[in-house]
């Protein structure tokens, strides 16, 4: 499966999307959920926001080819649509650094091998300014050490242990990990009164 490999460290150019509470409807409007495949979603990431705002970073040639997205608070709140991280991934995003994340979104990202690291507000603002000033500068997102490096600066950035271990150990492919439990699944179900029909 596509995510069956380790994601200890990601290095690439940055792209800043400022503002808090950017929801998954904004990342990918619902009309793009009508496709029965995820292919082709990349070009529609932030579709309406891009149309309404010519200055939107996803419109800017300066950020083309970027892979580290830097965002504000509560990024990806709202709908559980995996189409949101799928669209970002297919656009080229490989790691996200932000103030905080909608939980379903962050979980969907990890399954796709995209780490979502949290950093303090002042560091986020500094990163966004710095990327705007020098979009070509490489940023390293170090999942193992829980830090983000740009130039000489090292920023402490965290993510919960569970998903971090999944990324570092290459066990993001949850289906095969869960299948390993084997008959213990049916055994657990068998102990539940409602499964037995009371």
């Amino acid at each position: 499966m596509s995510t069956d490999f380790k994601r200890r460290q990601i290095t690439g150019r940055g792209i800043p999307v400022t503002g808090n509470d950017i929801d998954t409807d904004r990342i990918i409007p619902a009309r793009f959920l009508k496709a029965v495949v995820f292919e082709g979603l990349g070009e529609h990431a932030f579709e309406d926001a891009k149309k309404q705002n010519p200055e939107h970073p996803f419109n800017s040639p300066a950020y083309r080819g970027a892979s580290v997205l830097v965002v504000g608070q509560n990024f990806g709140c709202g709908s559980s649509r995996e189409h949101a991280p799928q669209a970002l991934m297919r656009w080229g995003i490989r790691a996200i650094v932000g103030g905080s994340f909608g939980e379903i979104f962050a979980g969907n990202c990890v399954i796709l091998g995209i780490p979502c690291l949290r950093a303090p507000q002042e560091d986020i603002e500094w990163l966004q300014r710095e990327i705007g000033r020098a979009p070509q500068a490489p940023i390293t997102v170090d999942v193992e050490k829980q830090e983000v490096r740009l130039g000489d600066r090292v920023i402490k950035a965290t993510m919960p242990d569970g998903p971090r271990n999944q990324l570092v150990n290459g066990t993001c492919d949850s289906t095969s990990v869960l299948l390993e439990a084997g008959a213990a699944i049916e055994a657990t179900a068998g102990r539940l009164p409602y499964v037995k029909g009371f």
Partner: protein, 467 residues
């Protein structure tokens, strides 16, 4: 030590601790719909995997289906293709589908409780964030992404970290004209859209205890809007009475055994929480959102707040919201002109919601400039409402009476805002573009408030109409 419902349900469904430190959690009920499953079934087919517990998996069609003309093939070829995929996948994997021919089709979060599939003490998953709704009966219910849908189909499990638990107490009693929707909108106003991140919410206190099951469903539905991973109400006699006689609840002696189990999963007196928040129910008035996330709301007698009164980090979002909505700081929300009125959705598409809206609809006619839609949450809700003559009440007043579906909550079918239309909506999200037009505007409120706005053409304090 006294334990919470979350503790008990989590422990009973734990298969094992994963190497990552997360829990492998058994999912007792998997609900699926046409929009977030085709890719999951495709992955399953590619991996040559079966559905692990087909008897614990149920599907319906809700997100994309038209609510006016449901003749197949659907006029929208993409909707038709999604429906065909759903039919094919449900057949290929031998799963139960509640489609239109069954009379049980509807919004997945309306039909789960209605059919008695949703029961206390269960773990429930569905590829939709409003799965938190099912917590109203005392279940732990998670919205998940499509790859996780694949996980549940293939393994009947999820890899999850146990959330922290916040008890949200609503004290006192509600005033007339104030409804469950106002309660949850006010909770989100007070705790914020980020306030619940990392938490499950246990709703408690006298206001919650007095609520009917349909009201509790409305409250739990919007837990995700407050950032919480899930939300629940402890099962009590109201829960038991609601579940008695439902299609999928046990009957006879098995029902009595079920009741013992259901009541046994409730949080025990003296249990401790990671956090407790308290809201004074008596101070809640009808709530209306004015902005672009569900926290941006005011009481109907209040004015839109100023960005300058906010913490600096929040000001840009506030300014963006004012610009999108075309509102000025300091402007009263009451009197704001609307173009569209929508009663429906998994938040407020149940029979009691339609009854309240109909009560208001009897007092006038839809304003000339307003397009008003009533979309029942399920075929069974529609049938019950029609048996009471509510459809006629609505038609007489100038509302459109539609067939069951998600409709204008997210505008994936033909029910969309046009251009910058302003919508008074009983749904759950006021995000930019949410109701189908990239520039459309949404004011969230209770079904009673939507009906009141429909007949006056502006945001109105429903208490003045009820007086």
């Amino acid at each position: 030590m006294a334990r919470t419902l979350l503790d008990k349900v989590w422990e009973a469904h734990t298969v094992r601790t994963l190497p990552s430190g997360q829990t492998q959690l058994l999912i007792g009920l998997h609900l699926i719909h046409e929009v977030t499953t085709p890719q999951a079934f495709q992955m399953l087919k590619e991996l040559k995997l079966k559905v692990r517990m087909p008897e614990r998996t149920f599907g319906t069609l809700d997100h994309i289906i038209p609510t006016a003309d449901q003749t197949r093939p659907y006029a929208d070829p993409e909707a038709e293709e999604m429906a065909q995929h759903m039919y094919r996948n449900m057949k290929d994997f031998n799963l139960q589908l509640f489609d239109m021919s069954t009379g049980k089709q509807g919004i997945v979060h309306v039909i789960g409780p209605e059919l008695g599939l949703t029961q206390p003490g269960m773990t429930i998953a569905c590829g939709d964030s409003h799965t938190s709704t099912h917590g109203a009966v005392g279940a732990i219910a998670f919205g998940i992404g499509t790859t996780q849908v694949r996980d549940v189909l293939a393994t009947q499990c999820l890899a999850m970290a146990k959330p922290k638990l916040r008890q949200v107490r609503v004290e006192g009693a509600l005033a007339k004209g104030v409804y469950a929707k106002d309660v949850i909108l006010w909770i989100i106003n007070q705790l914020g859209v980020k306030g619940g991140v990392g938490y499950a919410y246990e709703y408690a206190g006298p206001v919650i205890e007095w609520m009917t099951m349909e009201e509790r469903l409305t409250v739990c539905n919007m837990s995700i809007e407050g950032g919480a991973r899930c939300g629940y109400v402890n099962p009590d006699q109201t829960t038991v009475d609601y579940l008695r006689g439902k299609l999928y609840t046990p009957s006879g002696a098995a029902f009595d055994r079920a009741v013992t189990y259901w009541k046994g999963v409730a949080t025990e007196p003296g249990a401790s929480f990671d956090d407790v928040a308290s809201i004074d129910g008596a101070r809640i008035e009808p709530v209306v959102t004015w902005g672009i996330n569900p926290e941006m709301s005011v009481g109907v007698t209040q004015s839109i707040p100023s960005p300058e009164a906010q913490p600096e980090a929040e000001r840009p979002t506030f300014r963006e919201a004012l610009a999108h909505m075309g509102f000025q700081a300091g402007q009263p929300i009451k009197g704001a002109r609307i173009d569209v009125a929508f009663v429906g959705s998994c938040t407020n598409g149940r029979l009691s919601d339609l009854r309240i809206a109909a009560e208001i609809a009897k007092k006038g006619k839809v304003a000339k400039h307003v397009r008003a839609l009533i979309v029942p949450g399920s075929q069974q809700v529609a049938k019950a409402a029609e048996a009471e003559g509510l459809d006629e009440v609505f038609r007489q007043a100038g509302f459109q009476w539609r067939k069951a579906g998600c409709s204008m909550c997210l505008g994936m079918n033909d029910d969309k805002l046009q251009g910058r239309e302003m919508s008074a909506s009983s749904s759950n999200r006021n995000f930019i573009g949410r109701q189908g037009s990239p520039t459309g505007r949404t004011l969230l409120m209770s079904p009673a408030m939507v009906a009141a706005a429909a007949i006056t053409g502006t945001v109105t304090d429903v208490r003045e109409i009820l007086r």
